[in-house]
């Protein structure tokens, strides 16, 4: 149930953005976006502040967050290494040669 309105908002935005792409109004999108994000983070602060349980369990929550970051980041690092070795290191036709290219293969 949560997906549909989210999807419609984004798709509506993409369509409007495409139609308005030559108009000057779209230049203000990112500024407006930043403002809205700040406003919503303020509201996020309100929901966190009014949740007493959250304040008392903060250490446990922080630990969960740390573990999830560790897992997600390490997972993406291993996949990035695989993509680099498979596709970027072997043929250098139209790929840039980075500093990493000069490294020895472990």
């Amino acid at each position: 149930m949560t997906l549909l309105p989210v999807l419609l908002s984004i798709v509506g935005g993409v369509a409007s953005g495409y139609l308005l792409r030559k108009k000057s109004v779209v230049r203000y999108t990112s500024r407006l976006l930043n403002g809205v994000i700040m406003l919503l983070l303020f509201f996020l602060g309100i929901s966190v502040g009014s949740n007493q349980q959250l304040v008392t369990r903060f250490a446990a929550i922080g630990m969960d967050a740390l573990l999830l970051t560790l897992g997600g980041t390490l997972g993406s690092l291993f996949c990035a290494r695989w993509v680099y070795k498979q596709l970027f290191q072997r043929n250098n036709n139209h790929t840039p040669t980075g500093k990493g290219d000069k490294q020895e293969k472990p």
Binding site: V36, I37, M38, G45, G49, I61, A65, Y84, P96
Partner: protein
């Protein structure tokens, strides 16, 4: 960092009781949330950068965002085994923030509550910090694409200077493209996992 100031002010006003009760109505933030998503779409629809980059590198450049997504989901799924109190889909929705801490925590808070929203906020801020702190180490052990993958949705703005410096300037275009694609998929993945 200015963003977090707003978050802190929200907490402070509530804890000190200075906040008018009207503002605690969740319908307000939900309404603004849809405006936010509309604006995210507007930015994507009016931009023309993605196609230009795609023409230069071909389909191969799509593989990095794909690797970032798959790697993140695999890693987060493994971690969810260590967290019996949190469901797999909740963990995946946090991971699907890809360091885009503001949008992911806002979405998760409106649909799952402030507890998981806070996990998402912290986890995704940490992910961005990891790149800012460890980019040279990532390049050394995982290659020049590593900080891009780790940076998730932030590789088109906050972490871009670090990628340029440690991976090399020739990776800036790849990082920009990667950031745009991941940025676009964050609200889709997060709401997808929350709806499961």
């Amino acid at each position: 960092m200015l963003y977090l100031l707003f978050f802190a002010v929200g907490i402070l006003l509530t804890v000190t009781g200075l906040l008018p009760e009207v503002l605690k109505d969740e319908r307000i933030s939900k309404g603004i949330l849809y405006l936010l998503l509309f604006l995210v779409g507007l930015q994507i629809g009016s931009g023309k950068n993605i196609l230009r980059v795609l023409g230069r590198y071909g389909a191969k450049i799509m593989l990095l965002p794909l690797a970032t997504t798959l790697g993140t989901f695999a890693g987060v799924s493994l971690i969810s085994l260590l967290l019996p109190d949190r469901s797999l889909t909740d963990c995946l929705s946090v991971g699907a923030g890809f360091a885009y801490y503001s949008l992911s925590s806002i979405l998760i808070t409106s649909f799952r509550g402030a507890e998981l929203g806070t996990v998402a906020l912290l986890a995704n801020i940490l992910r961005e910090f990891t790149v800012l702190l460890l980019a040279p180490w990532m390049v050394r052990y995982f290659g020049p694409l590593a900080p891009i993958s780790a940076g998730g949705a932030t590789t088109m703005d906050t972490t871009l200077p670090f990628i340029s410096r440690y991976s090399g300037e020739e990776y800036v275009v790849i990082a920009l493209f990667h950031g745009m694609v991941i940025d676009f998929t964050v609200p889709l993945w997060v709401s997808f996992f929350l709806s499961l």
